[in-house]
């Protein structure tokens, strides 16, 4: 008979709980007691494993921040044609946001409130290789394969359309009068529509 580990290690439960609470309430809104309750342990144990609220938050932030730029480097560095990269970028991004819908508001909110603390730490020395994307776009323009566009503007266009709908979700659902299921369908549709739209705008004729 396999021995089932009935309860995870406390440290893991704390991390999971902290992630849930911080993501939904933010640094200021989260209470250490909330996290302890969610993890089912005593509050003092939080300080035993992680020295302070700030330390715990930073641990979560860093772990979670990775997912905000999901596999972007991998995609940019792949040898794929531009249009394939755009399709893959949208697909990957929207899928990631579907799985962690609180992520963008959380990351951008905290990064805006404490830029010096977080923005630099997130990327450390390894920024995503935007220049590769930029160079490829410029190459395609020079070759006459696509219309002349500003590469960085293009990148932000794509990113905006993939991420923003998740941030505006509650308003969207209310204004458009749709429910969660319809929102999911709406988002799923975007995996195809966004790259189509972008690529159509790039084609020459």
């Amino acid at each position: 008979m396999v021995k089932v580990k009935i309860d995870e290690r406390a440290e893991q439960r704390i991390l999971a709980a902290a992630k849930k609470i911080f993501l939904s309430k933010g640094l200021d809104g989260a209470r250490m007691q909330d996290i302890a309750d969610e993890a089912g342990i005593n509050k003092a144990l939080l300080h035993y494993y992680f020295r302070s609220k700030d330390k715990l938050f930073e641990t979560i932030f860093m772990e979670v921040a990775k997912h905000f730029l999901p596999r972007v480097s991998e995609i940019f560095e792949s040898g794929k044609p531009l249009f394939d990269k755009i399709e893959l970028f949208c697909e990957t991004y929207i899928q990631q946001m579907k799985e962690t819908p609180y992520l963008p508001l959380f990351i951008l909110g905290e990064a805006t409130r404490r830029p010096e603390t977080f923005v630099k730490k997130v990327f450390g020395n390894r920024k995503p290789p935007v220049h590769l994307f930029v160079a490829q776009v410029q190459q395609e323009i020079k070759s006459g394969n696509i219309k002349p566009v500003h590469p960085l503007q293009l990148l932000i266009d794509i990113l905006s359309m993939c991420v923003f709908p998740f941030m505006a979700r509650p308003m969207l659902e209310h204004v458009a009068g749709i429910n969660k299921k319809q929102f999911d369908a709406f988002i799923e549709e975007r995996k195809k529509l966004v790259p189509e739209m972008i690529i159509a705008s790039l084609k020459n004729n």
Copy 2:
């Protein structure tokens, strides 16, 4: 000689201070003392004019939320051709976000954390007439003037591209290695580029 009102009414100063503090720190991050200090008055006076922190916050939120959908109704209800509306929408939106760059993260952050409290209150009975835009797009499709697109997806595309860059600003500046002046130029350029891009993607040939 004109008598200069050396200090505004305290109530006004409180509102201005609360706006500044709440917008930058959010409901949870803002301290009543911060607001009192910013307004240059005693903390008790905050409670004299506005009963509680929540009441004060709601006042600010409601006042400020109006600017999140700047003149959208006006634009949708104007008799203008679709492409003109799109151009005007982008121009108006980006300009508003330039003037109140903290707005989107603030509104969407609070709306997400307390949807039942805020989302409905913001719009009250008067939602923006999205259906007018939708109908106009459908009409243009039927007339064969533009490619067939999903009207709501189109609207979100536009909104995303206008608003998101302001929310992602600190990350953007860091990743793209640009300063505030360059960001402003980047944004200014979008007033033309975004509608151009959208309209190009709608044209038939």
